[in-house]
């Protein structure tokens, strides 16, 4: 088992852009969703609606497990399983986190080209987000421990 500050864990957090986020519902059923996440101040920040399945699940069972893929560096044979303790909060994350999200997912090389190429769809995206269940919120995930696992 690895501590969150272990170099390999930090590398995965830096090199991964999408996490498979697994949680447990109040009814005792498994749930998983792919999400962007942004590390900041020792916490992983995920924006989501307050009425989404993830937000509801966190309210009942705060232990959430992430699978990180290291896709920026290309780690075809391994992934990182990261156990976290999650809390859900109303509203958007604080400005420093929002700026990091913008840099990581909208302005990075590749991201910017994709954004510009889809400029005509920005309005649809804004409408899509306006529909989000329960209004805007975010989940804070505090890493507890991790392990590198093989990808079959």
């Amino acid at each position: 088992m690895l501590f969150p500050d272990a170099p390999v864990v930090q590398e995965f957090l830096h090199d991964s852009l999408v996490a498979h986020v697994a949680s447990r519902s109040a009814a005792g059923r498994p749930f998983v969703t792919p999400l962007w996440f942004t590390p900041h101040a020792g916490v992983l920040w995920v924006t989501t609606g307050l009425g989404t399945r993830l937000a509801k699940n966190v309210g009942h069972q705060p232990e959430v497990t992430l699978l990180l893929w290291g896709e920026r560096r290309g780690r075809p044979g391994e992934a990182l399983r990261l156990r976290t303790r999650a809390t859900c909060h109303a509203g958007l994350p604080p400005w420093p986190v929002l700026l990091r999200i913008a840099a990581r997912y909208y302005l990075a090389p590749g991201a910017l080209a994709s954004e510009i190429g889809n400029v005509t769809r920005w309005t649809l995206r804004a409408r899509y987000y306006a529909q989000v269940s329960g209004g805007p919120g975010h989940v804070r995930l505090v890493p507890l421990d991790a392990e590198v696992v093989a990808r079959p």
């Binding site: 852009l17 999408v18 498979h20 697994a22 949680s23 447990r24 005792g28 059923r29 498994p30 749930f31 998983v32 969703t33 792919p34 069972q61 232990e63 959430v64 497990t65 992430l66 699978l67 893929w69 896709e71 920026r72 992934a79 399983r81 997912y105 909208y106 590749g110 991201a111 994709s114 954004e115 190429g117 889809n118 769809r121 649809l124 995206r125 409408r127 899509y128 529909q131 696992v149 093989a150 990808r151 079959p152």
Partner: protein, 114 residues
């Protein structure tokens, strides 16, 4: 009018053939567990491969998640909720079939009015 990124499964069929990221999620004891898998489709039949010393999924409710793309308009994927049944050992893996009870597919690049 609502906006959706949901698509038919056939719209992401190419992704299912070679999924860059594939996992299975299930309950284990009091918590939730997630492991990477190799996924394959024969027609609409979904199977996931795990190492021989991997978890026993027999009869468990599982969710298989397959997806791709880091950037917003390139996020595509599908999830399959069902019960796992052991199929066979091959290629050094134990293969589990999943009879999907619920399938969701999405392509953010295909966002549109519903």
């Amino acid at each position: 009018m609502p906006v959706t990124r949901d698509v038919e499964l056939d719209a992401v069929r190419d992704l299912l053939a070679r999924p860059p990221r594939a996992s299975v999620t299930f309950l284990d004891g009091g918590g939730v567990a997630i492991v990477p898998v190799r996924a394959r489709f024969a027609g609409d039949r979904l199977a996931v491969g795990l190492p021989a010393d991997g978890p026993d999924l027999a009869g468990r409710e599982v969710v298989v998640l397959i997806d791709d793309g880091p950037w917003w308009f390139r996020l595509r994927g599908a999830s399959f909720r069902g019960v796992a049944r052991r199929e066979a050992e091959a290629e050094g893996l134990v293969w589990w079939t999943v009879e999907p009870r619920r399938v969701l597919a999405w392509d953010y690049g295909a966002i549109r009015e519903a």
